[in-house]
């Protein structure tokens, strides 16, 4: 056990190892967060469609369910064929993870929009909000708590999945796992696992903060209640 920590120290002691690690980490952050944002936007748009048109709703639910069922490696490998990207392009991972994120978030968006009390919607319309503005200013903000929960799950999922991309040649922390495996070397693998977990934790904390910032009325209600 002591050997293992000594070796870990030696691994981290090399400047080249550290700089490669930080490069991989940055790639990883980019590859997991961009799909999160893109997927959320797509899910919101799709959810609005499904909320508005009942026929779209059932189609959306079935399609998103199906997409979500596709195993990760399977989706990663067929995307270059579908979107015609170059074989080594990292865009393949981004597209795949966007698909997963959107598929995951469609249902929470629908549920959240359904949960907006009708009298609130009515009141907004009554004081003159056009549908688009009403959606952006009233329904969407009220959906934030439910959406945030979904986004948190999606973020953990994305951060974990980016590593699989190493099998199709994409960067990110997954490179540490393939390297460690090929050389029968524990240190990069352990560093990679720990870094992934920490990244997931930090992003989760940030998302919680974001959610709280976007829902100030919850805080006001609490303080008012406390009085």
């Amino acid at each position: 056990m002591g050997d293992f920590f000594a070796e870990l120290g030696r691994y981290l002691g090399s400047a080249n190892n550290r700089s490669q690690f930080f490069g991989d980490l940055l790639d990883h952050v980019y590859l997991s967060l961009v799909p999160l944002v893109l997927g959320l936007v797509i899910a919101v748009l799709a959810g609005w469609l499904g909320h508005r048109f009942a026929s779209a709703r059932s189609v959306l639910l079935v399609v998103s369910n199906l997409l979500y069922t596709i195993p990760s490696l399977a989706l990663f490998v067929v995307i270059p064929g579908i979107i015609g990207s170059k074989i080594l392009d990292s865009v393949n991972v981004i597209v795949a993870l966007t698909v997963y994120t959107a598929a995951l978030l469609v249902r929470p968006v629908l549920d959240a929009l359904d949960a907006v009390p009708p009298h609130v919607v009515a009141a907004a319309t009554a004081i003159g909000y056009k549908p688009a503005r009403r959606f952006l200013s009233v329904e969407l903000p009220l959906s934030v708590p439910v959406l945030a929960a979904g986004v948190r799950v999606a973020s953990v999922s994305n951060i974990s999945l980016v590593s699989v991309g190493a099998l199709i040649g994409t960067g990110g922390l997954g490179v540490l796992f393939t390297d460690g495996f090929q050389r029968e070397y524990f240190s990069p693998i352990v560093v990679g696992i720990v870094a992934t977990l920490l990244l997931a934790l930090i992003v989760d904390l940030v998302l919680v903060q974001l959610r709280d910032v976007l829902t100030p009325w919850d805080r006001v209600a609490t303080t008012a209640g406390a009085k």
Partner: protein, 299 residues
């Protein structure tokens, strides 16, 4: 509220845009453009890629990146074709076989000469190194002790054994080994390309014969015995830079030729030991090699 959300989205968008895509390896390489060095899934390939990178940077190339290992030759050729890669360290024999499946060349000179002939438009190879990393069929010591020393010895008894090797081994060699040595294995199993799965399988006895590579450190480390290829089935495998035409300037070509001239089999084996057994960082190993051979100025 709207302003906050809008500001947030704008902020994220700005951040993402400014960071750019750190993995924008899709850039076209030109003679003075980005040089992207690839590596196949043999660990030593990554080492060689780093050595090339170091030499190229030293020759004044500015944007040199090494891509993470992506799989074997087929992927690499495609990437060179669409210029997502500029140069890849490759092995003369296998490269020739890729473009001419029926080649009979086996010596280093013959293989290299035919390779230069058979390369399609858009590709070229620079000078080859004396260093070779050939396929070896290895067995555990116990089997070698029971009088199997050469491929010919093995040939008669192949039926008793399970073989473990890379996924492409079957399509590349199954017929040839039968034709040349009368060898038909009881089972040909895919393990990996001379990596830990193959080593583990041979060690545990799941397979009795494995395909490993001659400069690999795992052969000596595990006490495996390589068999002698008495009829030269496996051709010469000299290390040679495989280049997408037009991506390297003459000065850069020269730098790589100097690397090749300095690379011997012994040195390559030693590099592998440093990388795989001593677990040193590939950049460190590459740098030391370049200094030792006066390609980089001594520090």
């Amino acid at each position: 509220m709207r302003r906050t959300v809008a500001a947030l989205f704008a902020g994220i968008a700005l951040l993402t845009a400014s960071c750019g895509n750190p993995l924008a390896g899709g850039a076209e390489g030109g003679a003075t453009g980005d040089i992207i060095i690839g590596a196949s899934d043999v660990g030593e390939s990554l080492l060689l890629a780093q050595i090339y990178a170091g030499a190229l940077r030293n020759a004044g190339a500015e944007n040199v990146t090494v891509r993470p290992p992506v799989g074997s030759r087929e992927v690499v050729v495609k990437a060179l074709q669409d210029k997502s890669l500029s140069v890849v360290p490759d092995y003369s024999g296998n490269l020739l076989r890729y473009f001419d499946k029926d080649t009979q060349a086996t010596t280093p000179q013959d293989v290299y000469a035919q390779l230069k002939q058979k390369l399609p438009q858009g590709f070229e190879v620079l000078e080859q190194a004396p260093a070779e990393d050939k396929d070896l069929l290895v067995v555990r010591k116990e089997l070698a002790d029971s009088e199997i020393r050469t491929f010919s010895d093995l040939g008669k008894r192949c039926k008793e054994f399970v073989f473990g090797g890379p996924g492409q081994w079957s399509s590349r060699w199954k017929d040839k080994i039968k034709a040349l040595y009368g060898c038909e294995f009881a089972e040909i199993r895919t393990t990996d390309t001379g990596g830990p799965v193959t080593v583990a399988a041979l060690k545990s006895g799941d397979v009795q014969v494995a395909d490993l590579f001659s400069t690999s450190s795992s052969i000596a480390a595990n006490g495996f015995v390589p068999l002698v290829d008495d009829k030269n089935m496996f051709p010469a495998q000299n290390i040679v830079p495989f280049v997408a035409k037009g991506t390297l300037s003459p000065k850069e070509v020269d730098a790589l030729n100097r690397v090749s001239a300095a690379l011997t089999t012994d040195q390559l084996t030693e590099l592998n030991v440093q990388f795989s057994e001593e677990k040193r960082n590939p950049l460190d190993v590459a740098e030391e090699f370049l200094r030792r051979n006066n390609i980089l100025a001594p520090s």
